[in-house]
């Protein structure tokens, strides 16, 4: 059994260490690979069917890029329109401000219980533990989130958060927590049990918390896609709705949804459209919540905006296609990333949201194969950002005094000196030839080396140094050679 992983990037172990217990958990890896294969297969079929897929991708990337270039203007427009239609708009510079705003609204409402639609921003600001500490019960309503909440487990994917848990395990959690020992493990029985458990909550709790898939500047509207119907219950039955949205979520016009909804559904779950998409702008009398709050969450996003190569990270629409395609994620699942955002997008988003102060190992959790870039519906060049972040992480390390006890750093620093001085370089070549002679095999290859050299030879062979360098060969050959036309 693995111990409970932490998704708080400020506490999580570096990726290479966090991944070790997971690599030994064959059940978890099987569950992840199985689930990811299914989604990936559906996605590929539907993308192939779509003749204008590349054009849609280009338009989506262009719209998102345009938004980020003019983010301030669109946010202000969103705020103006939302307020004009009866909504309240709040601005939260960081996670703590967002949590305090939520708490303030709940206190004003006198709410002791809230229902929640799956929200990544909610997870990002660690909302549930905070509300629990404040004495407010928050009930998740998305089936997968119910499983995680009841089973006290952590999510491992942004679209299908419980994909690492199989049906038998779900049955056990429900049977235990809902007190139904005879519960069968058929999908119908499990969803039925969850529905019965939730229905009473929906009908009695008058405050809901949601995230947002898109904000529409032109109308002050919000859109949410979902697969189960729980979302529409939360969006229509309660009297008060609090929506926590990242500042990058805004789209210029309502019509832009014609691009976004097409690419999102295909990329996220392999469907032509998400099963249920809701859209509302402000308060409509007689239909749905009469008090609407939208919290615009910065929490590190504006600092990502500042850097030109990394800015594309904010185009993300959270479809998770990159993690389904990632050969690393397929092996590890989401927990090793130590963040609510796992996979390739998490590897670039998490350290940046924390201003590169934590999670610096994540940009290395990739083979740079580019599968994520290929499937990304908004064309985020994730490998490019990964490399950029690696260089930032390296620069940070260079500033640390501890670097002089790192053998790799010292070796590379020494190599740097060597390569700059021809005479030293030649001496180095001669030295290495003599020094490695002992380990060089008859076939001219070095199969194993001691100490730091072993880090290389543990997985691959090293070509032995030749008995003659090019320069030496050239000097010998040049005697008696006359240049033509001389």
């Amino acid at each position: 059994m693995t111990s409970q992983p932490t998704l708080d990037p400020t506490l999580a172990s570096p990726f290479p260490r966090a991944v070790l217990p997971i690599l030994r958990d064959s059940q978890l890896r099987m569950n992840v690979a199985h689930a990811v294969d299914i989604i990936q297969g559906k996605r590929d079929t539907l993308v192939k069917e779509k003749r204008d897929w590349e054009q849609l991708r280009s338009a989506a990337a262009a719209i998102r890029t345009h938004v980020l270039e003019n983010l301030g203007a669109y946010l202000e427009e969103f705020e103006r329109r939302c307020i004009a239609r009866g909504g309240h708009v709040h601005w939260a510079a960081d996670a703590n401000e967002a949590r305090q705003i939520v708490l303030k609204i709940l206190c004003d409402e006198g709410a002791r219980e809230v229902v929640k639609i799956k929200t990544m921003t909610g997870a990002e600001i660690n909302l549930n533990p905070f509300l629990a500490a404040a004495g407010i019960d928050a009930f998740e309503t998305d089936l997968a989130e119910v499983i995680l909440q009841l089973g006290r487990k952590e999510p491992s994917h942004i679209v299908v958060p419980a994909l690492h848990i199989n049906r038998g395990q779900v049955r056990d959690i429900f049977a235990r927590c809902m007190n139904i020992p005879e519960l069968p493990d058929t999908p119908e029985a499990l969803t039925g049990a969850a529905r019965a458990f939730l229905r009473e909550k929906f009908l009695n709790i008058s405050t809901a918390i949601s995230g947002a898939n898109f904000l529409v500047a032109e109308s002050g509207g919000v859109s949410i896609v979902e697969s189960e119907g729980n979302g529409r219950m939360c969006l229509t039955l309660p009297k008060t709705l609090i929506t926590i949205a990242g500042i990058e979520k805004v789209l210029p016009r309502f019509k832009d949804l014609e691009v976004m909804l097409q690419i999102l559904a295909r990329s996220a779950t392999g469907e032509r459209m998400n099963p249920y998409t809701s859209y509302w702008s402000g308060v409509t009398s007689g239909d749905g919540p009469q008090r609407l709050h939208v919290i615009l969450l910065d929490n590190g996003r504006s600092s990502i905006l500042r850097r030109s190569k990394e800015r594309q990270t904010l185009r993300c629409i959270r479809c998770a296609a990159c993690m389904n395609a990632c050969p690393v994620y397929r092996q590890t699942g989401g927990h090793a990333y130590g963040s609510v955002y796992p996979g390739p997008i998490g590897a670039i988003l998490t350290p940046q949201l924390l201003r590169m102060e934590y999670a610096q190992s994540l940009p290395y959790a990739s083979s740079l194969c580019g599968a994520c870039y290929e499937v990304c519906p908004v064309k985020i060049n994730i490998p490019e950002v990964l490399l950029e972040l690696r260089s930032v992480a390296i620069k940070q390390q260079r500033r640390s005094a501890l670097r002089f006890i790192d053998p790799l750093y010292v070796a590379l620093w020494f190599a740097g000196v060597l390569f700059l001085k021809p005479r030293l370089f030649r001496a180095g070549q001669r030295f290495c030839r003599t020094a490695t002679k002992f380990w060089t095999g008859k076939d001219g290859w070095i199969h194993s080396m001691p100490l730091i050299g072993g880090k290389w030879t543990i997985t691959r062979d090293l070509r032995g140094f030749p008995s003659q360098t090019f320069r030496e060969w050239w000097e010998k050959r040049a005697t008696g050679y006359t240049r033509p036309n001389a």
């Binding site: 009908l203 529409r232 219950m233 099963p275 910065d298």
Partner: protein
């Protein structure tokens, strides 16, 4: 008096916290994007420059569109019946009868003859949660239907059912006129000048007619 003052102070403090965060975030964005207060016209022009070469309009004939929609619905266990305007009422009666349900709800503005006698009817206006719970089925016209993605679109105007009635109850009879069927999502977005205040796009599993 004192209480009032304190209340006022409290409010002012809250306001200023909000304004501080707001201006801090907007300032950071402005510094990052280097786009100091773009004029609306300039912004609109930049927006128009976004290239959109994806398919706007489908290629199917009206009949082909409708059969695609029916195919896609049926592949998802949705029961589909076709009829003429003249036989619509008969078909509604038949569907209500075969559902084995008793209490139905309809939007405030629907043709009176749709509300077939012999069943109990509620009007979809200000229904409480528990009233909604008592309802067995919904009968509603729709705003439009998108064939490619088998999507039913509701704008929840007075002649369509409200949002609460999309997840509840679990039986729905949606009446789609042939003229309301479009092939692609962009065709739907080209259908209106004025944006709806509310919209629900339903493309997922659902037992209904």
């Amino acid at each position: 008096m004192v209480g009032e003052t304190r209340d006022w102070l409290h409010k002012a403090e809250r306001l200023s916290v909000r304004d501080m965060s707001r201006s801090r975030i907007l300032r950071r964005i402005q510094e990052a994007t280097d786009s100091s207060a773009v004029e609306a016209a300039k912004l609109a022009q930049r927006y128009e420059e976004i290239s959109r070469s994806y398919d706007r309009i489908g290629s199917l004939s009206t009949n082909a569109k409708i059969s695609l929609l029916i195919d896609r619905f049926q592949s998802y266990d949705v029961v589909v019946r076709e009829c003429n305007p003249s036989t619509l009422t008969v078909l509604i009666r038949e569907q209500l009868a075969t559902s084995g349900r008793r209490t139905f709800v309809a939007p405030p503005v629907v043709p009176a003859q749709w509300m077939i006698a012999g069943f109990e009817w509620r009007v979809d206006a200000d229904l409480g949660h528990y009233e909604v719970e008592q309802i067995d089925g919904v009968v509603t016209p729709v705003y439009c239907a998108i064939a490619d993605s088998r999507t039913i679109v509701l704008h929840h105007s007075a002649n369509e059912s409200g949002r609460v009635l999309t997840p509840l109850p679990d039986w729905k009879l949606c009446i789609v006129f042939a003229s309301q069927v479009v092939e692609t999502l962009p065709e739907y977005f080209a259908r209106f000048e004025l944006m709806p205040a509310l919209a629900t796009w339903i493309s997922g599993p659902g037992r209904g007619t």
